[in-house]
């Protein structure tokens, strides 16, 4: 899983010879792009920018004056709760993710390889499903409650409100920190720490003075993802009854549009501000050196080996094992019950198959189209010298901070306001897929850019000297080399679409349901067996897809 927040447009291709001073690099001059590509890139950027800009514009022009509501308690109170939750989750996920990353990459922990595969997995859980599973488990009659009762704990904490939201979101977002930090720890040449040791540092001092600064950018980027995820999360806080901005927007969007608009503006500002701050503080790291075969130092844990192992097991059990068990438990209960002629399930097989098919259909369509939509921009940035490309890239990347709920809201308000748009695309799959593309285009952007840049210019030159025209070069050189990267991009978007809740809830055409919308409504209506059954299908599907499309590729990084 390579969820990563691309922090800046890529550095120009630099050719450094054996001993060329790096401050006077031989920059390979890239050509100017064809006009059509430039225009296309700008049009795409405009499309990506539209939902966010539309919300701002409506705030400024609405007769009911949403801007006047911004400082009212109805808006400020949810904002306070959102910030409190997001800061707490960021801190805990940052600590947990970093610690787990260090233990699983830099120590002789038993089964280190297993943990490296298992620990990213909580990302396949949509947080609302994780929340649902944990809520039920800790409630009386739930799995965790039973287990705790047998060891004599008869009062389990009730998962609700701030504590519940913090607990659940930490458990399901720490992989955003874990993944980049673990990669950073693994890439850090051991000679750096060894140098520090020989220059007089204790192991701990070497970690603090040398290792930590090297992975600080990764920690910052990962924590930013956690923060953005938390402020945009809707499903988990809804189920845990904690009134954040997203929940307030969802409840107000029909009844009180001006309040919803004001809330969404605040959410937009918070997201934007945090991204800016992170950008300001994260310095660009210089590359670590030329030799990368230098293996990282592995620390011996000694008598802490098994306690650390136990800690890993607890983290994995709470974030993956427990929820998975709970879901399987419910669905098994439900199936048993209906087979024995008890209360029948409220859904039939046809509906489940239908929802599964819909999930895969919109997921694949949105994923392929999202990669296709950002590919021209990736070309502009990666292959050509173009200001249009830089602008378009910045626009697409900045949509990363735009919560799905706001995209859904913007599109709803837009279709309701404009009769023409409503007639044309209102209530169609096209609108839903458009929303997904805008939501996840930034994810596809980073991966596509890497793919474009992975095609060495000299291969192009070689193909050209062998008489291949531009179309033949595209088909015989570019696409085959980029294919694995682009496929990983499709996989990443596909997985994200399958988990997406607010857009799926608000923008789906009438009568169209995906697995996530069905699971969410089943759980809200307390049909846990049905919710569990579909959740098992969804997660199984995500797991298989992420294994084939993302994890397997990321493991060798």
């Amino acid at each position: 899983m390579t969820d990563s927040f691309p922090t800046a447009p890529p550095a120009p291709e630099v050719a450094v010879d054996g001993d060329g001073p790096a401050d006077r690099p031989g920059v390979v001059r890239r050509p100017r792009p064809p006009g059509l590509l430039r225009v296309g890139g700008l049009v795409l950027a405009a499309i990506f920018a539209f939902p966010g800009l539309y919300l701002v514009w409506r705030n400024l022009t609405e007769d009911a004056d949403p801007l006047g509501l911004v400082f009212s308690p109805r808006v400020m109170e949810p904002m306070g709760r959102t910030l409190r939750l997001a800061v707490s989750v960021s801190i805990s996920a940052c600590l947990l993710g970093t610690a787990l990353a260090w233990f699983s990459t830099r120590t002789d922990l038993p089964l280190a390889r297993l943990w490296r595969v298992v620990l990213p997995l909580p990302l396949v859980f949509p947080t609302f499903i994780g929340a649902a599973a944990l809520i039920r488990s800790f409630n009386p009659g739930g799995l965790a409650n039973d287990v705790l009762a047998t060891v004599g704990v008869d009062r389990t904490p009730e998962l609700q409100g701030f504590f519940g939201a913090w607990f659940v979101l930490t458990l399901f977002t720490f992989p955003y920190v874990y993944l980049p930090v673990a990669a950073g720890f693994r890439q850090l040449p051991g000679s750096l720490e060894e140098s520090a040791r020989l220059l007089g540092d204790s192991p701990f001092a070497a970690f603090r003075r040398v290792c930590l600064p090297q992975v600080a950018t990764a920690i910052g980027a990962g924590t930013l993802l956690v923060f953005l995820y938390t402020i945009s999360d809707f499903g988990a806080v809804q189920l845990l009854r904690y009134d954040t901005l997203t929940r307030a927007i969802a409840t107000n969007q029909l009844a009180n549009p001006p309040v919803a608009l004001a809330l969404s503006l605040i959410l937009l500002v918070v997201a934007g501000a945090v991204v800016m701050v992170e950008r300001l503080f994260s310095r660009r790291r210089s590359d670590i050196g030329r030799i990368h075969d230098n293996k990282p130092v592995i620390y011996r844990l000694g008598r802490w080996r098994w306690p650390a192992f136990f800690g890993m097991a607890v983290a994995a059990a709470l974030s993956i094992g427990g929820p998975m068990l709970a879901l399987v438990d419910w669905s098994a209960d439900g199936l048993r019950r209906s087979l024995r002629g008890g209360r029948p399930l409220t859904i039939d097989a046809e509906e489940v198959i239908d929802a599964t098919g819909n999930t895969v259909l919109v997921g694949v369509l949105a994923a392929v189209l999202a990669v296709a939509a950002v590919l021209p921009i990736a070309y502009l940035v990666g292959r050509y010298r173009s200001r249009a490309g830089t602008v378009a890239y910045a626009v697409v990347i900045s949509t990363f901070a735009l919560p799905g709920l706001l995209i859904a809201l913007s599109i709803r308000f837009w279709t309701l306001r404009s009769g023409l748009v409503f007639d044309l695309v209102g209530n169609t799959l096209a609108l839903l897929i458009f929303a997904y593309i805008v939501r996840f285009g930034s994810l596809a952007m980073g991966v596509s850019l890497v793919a474009v840049q992975s095609v060495p210019t000299r291969l192009h030159d070689a193909a050209a000297t062998l008489g291949a025209g531009s179309l033949k070069r595209l088909l015989t050189v570019d696409l085959p080399i980029m294919a694995p990267g682009l496929l990983a991009g499709v996989g990443l978007v596909l997985l994200s679409v399958m988990k997406e809740l607010p857009i799926s809830l608000l923008v789906s055409p009438l009568g169209f349901s995906t697995l996530t919308t069905r699971i969410f409504s089943s759980f809200e209506d307390a049909f846990v067996a049905e919710a569990g059954l579909m959740a098992v299908i969804l997660i199984g599907l995500s797991f298989v897809l992420s294994w084939f499309l993302v994890i397997r590729r990321a493991e060798h990084l």
């Binding site: 054996g18 001993d19 060329g20 001073p21 790096a22 401050d23 040449p189 000679s191 750096l192 060894e194 140098s195 520090a196 040791r197 020989l198 220059l199 007089g200 540092d201 204790s202 003075r209 040398v210 600064p213 090297q214 790291r285 210089s286 590359d287 670590i288 050196g289 030329r290 030799i291 230098n294 293996k295």
Partner: protein, 365 residues
């Protein structure tokens, strides 16, 4: 670049921060006794050591020379305290730093090391890199160290903005700044291209002599080992097979493997008869008495081309200051080093004679 040797007044006070001991910068001696090291598991770990013993005098520069995987880097890391051998003793200045029941962690050994990839901290400026191992009073010491390696004025730059040669010098300055008792260098020049490598090699060589510091460096390049090392320890398969001065090693290798590993050599099977051996191109005087079958070590400069038709010229390689002529004779290839004005051509028939002091011979096995 010029290396300016600091006068004694310039010299910084030794760093005392976090050190087991501090004092005037004295070159330390190193004693290695029966070091053995075997890695766990397959393939991944460092190369093994088999019963390695070696004494390095204070102020001496010693080269560990061997093919890749022979254990030379492992030995260096063992001295630094970065690897812990299964058995054996490492003593620095007669203080046991590795041994049964005693262990001094690397940060308290006062050992400096220049890594193969230089391991400059990418997040710190050049000055902060150099100051890393220093306590207070760092400013003077940093400036001194940078002056020592000819990098005055680069202190505020980031390592990645420096050229490879400059980065190498920063690594050296950083290792020297805390005034270690011993300087270890792990293939320090292997990342540089040829011209720069030779230039830096001479500079480092001079610097080591000027400072009088004990140094151990690892290399797989025989020329490098000969140029910089006072003595060379040749390693193969985890063992030290021979320790000698470069000249001694070149003239009297301990076995045929060392003979062919250090320098160009041809081993010719001859029949020895006391102080001489007979070969297809005449009688060769031997250094020591042998009888029966021997393998005579012939260096290219010990052979000379003459008129004749015993050998055929196979190949001519022009090196500027000399020329290497490859001869086919009796199904074997002999290499002859001649002056640059040699007038043979490929395919010519020539003669060859032995023209040197007595040759070294190994009893044929």
């Amino acid at each position: 670049m010029t290396i300016t040797r600091p006068t004694d007044g310039d010299r910084a006070e030794p760093a005392s921060k976090g050190r087991g001991r501090s004092g005037t910068p004295v070159a330390g001696s190193i004693g290695l006794r029966h070091l053995s090291f075997h890695y766990e598991g397959g393939g991944e770990g460092p190369a093994a050591l088999e019963d390695v013993s070696l004494d390095i005098a204070a102020g001496e520069s010693i080269a560990l020379l061997g093919p890749s995987g022979c254990g030379k880097t492992t030995l260096l890391r063992t001295i630094a305290g970065l690897e812990r051998p299964d058995t054996g003793v490492v003593a620095i200045d007669d203080e046991i730093v590795t041994g049964p029941g005693s262990w001094v962690p690397p940060e308290r050994r006062r050992v400096g090391m220049v890594f193969q990839d230089w391991a400059l901290f990418p997040h710190l400026t050049v000055a902060r890199n150099v100051a890393y191992g220093l306590g207070k009073r760092r400013r003077d010491a940093v400036a001194d160290s940078l002056r020592l390696v000819g990098l005055v004025g680069t202190g505020d730059r980031m390592p990645s903005t420096l050229s490879g040669g400059q980065q190498q010098r920063v690594a050296l300055a950083r290792a020297l700044a805390p005034q270690p008792r011993v300087l270890l260098l792990d293939e320090p020049f292997s990342n540089l291209d040829t011209n720069l490598r030779n230039e830096l090699r001479s500079e480092v060589h001079r610097l080591l002599l000027d400072l009088g510091i004990t140094s151990v460096f690892v290399t797989h390049d025989q020329e490098e080992a000969f140029v910089v090392g006072d003595r060379v320890a040749v390693m193969n398969a985890g063992r030290v097979v021979q320790v000698d001065t470069p000249a001694g090693l070149y003239a009297r290798p301990t076995d045929p493997w060392v003979a062919t590993f250090v320098g160009d050599a041809t081993l010719v099977r001859c029949r020895a008869d006391g102080a001489t051996a007979g070969s297809s191109f005449g009688v060769i005087p031997l250094e020591s008495e042998h009888r029966g079958d021997v393998d005579v070590l012939l260096r290219p400069e010990q052979l000379r081309l003459v008129e004749g038709d015993r050998a055929t010229v196979e190949l001519i390689e022009f090196y500027g200051h000399d020329v290497m002529v490859f001869l086919a004779i009796d199904g074997q290839t002999l290499r002859v080093r001649t002056g640059p004005d040699v007038r043979v051509r490929r395919g010519d028939r020539v003669g060859v004679v032995f023209d040197g002091p007595a040759a070294h011979a190994f009893t044929a096995i």
